[in-house]
Amino acid sequence: MRISPTGDNTFSKSQNTGTQYLIPKGLVSFVGICPPLLPGEEEKNFYVLFDMMAEEIGPTTNVEWFAVADVVDLLWDIGRYRLWKNAILMVSRRDALVTALTRTHPYYNPNAKISLADEEAVLWRTDPKKQVVLQARLDEAGYCTDALNAGALMEAQMPLATIDRFLSSARGQLNTTLKEIGVRREFADRARKAFDERLKLTVEVLKPKQIGPN
């Protein structure tokens, strides 16, 4: 546990992780509060992240504490956007499969409003025997796994680009704040370094998955 330099104007806080740091007393109700969580997210993970960043950056002034809170919030949102990216790829893969199944259907009619491909796509996912038959049909028409993945990527291009824009905007917003603080302090360097390290770690953990047929 770190000792407060002033001794009286600080508050020791520990959130589930065992680590302790000092948030200025008045800021306790404003900084380091877990946001509303989505299904599957855990409060504990937020505090782990906050503790880690606070420990690493070591903010000393009120404004620096707010910057740390911003960094953590941005990282939290970046994690959510990354889940979206994975989901978009999956959805696009599913749509590309339906398109391929529609076009290779024996009774394919471009003007028909009803298609059996949706049903076949479900069978593809649930029935391994049917999947072999459908795959043979797709292979015959030249729709190999790589072609389907390429089609999926093409379809996902726009939404993925939009998310990349959000991610880059998050980074830009962080820099905007740190630049001003960094004019007089090395705090910004520490914060930027910690942010990048954390981002690198997350990327390593969430390696992009190869899209499989299922």
Partner: protein, 137 residues
């Protein structure tokens, strides 16, 4: 060009409409065109005003504070503005909570909503930046 007959017809139809009558109806119709509420000024929000005052006081007091009360207030407002933006973002994330069953159209709608929100975030961060610069921290 709208015809005279059409204008007359519009006037006649409009005169029949009296709008919401009950207090509940008036309350509901007040937010008919509200989307995310980020365009309204945070300082006009009565619920947040006290918190802004409190944070302004904290930021401007002591050696650790930023000294200038005016800029402290701007920073406090930005803090709550960001919190409001985060809540709006969360609402969008929540609509996509079931990612496995989401469709491409769902993502399109959600991404558009996020784009609308993100410009307010950029604005809030820039405002905070200017306040930090002016305060001479």
């Amino acid at each position: 060009m709208t015809s005279t007959r059409k204008i007359e017809s519009n006037k006649k139809n409009a005169s029949r409409s009296t709008g919401p009558r009950t207090p509940g109806g008036k309350l509901r119709s007040r937010v008919n065109s509200r989307r995310h509420g980020l365009a309204t000024r945070i300082e006009d929000d009565t619920e947040t005003k006290d918190s802004i005052d409190c944070l302004t006081e904290i930021l401007s007091e002591g050696n650790n504070g930023i000294g200038c009360e005016e800029q402290a207030r701007v920073l406090a407002e930005c803090h709550f503005e960001k919190r409001r933006i985060r809540a709006a973002r969360f609402d969008v994330f929540l609509t996509m909570a079931d990612l496995e069953n989401a469709s491409a159209e769902d993502f399109e709608v959600a991404l558009r909503a996020m784009s609308n929100i993100s410009r307010y975030a950029t604005r809030a961060f820039s405002k905070a930046k200017r306040a930090i610069r002016k305060s001479g921290l």
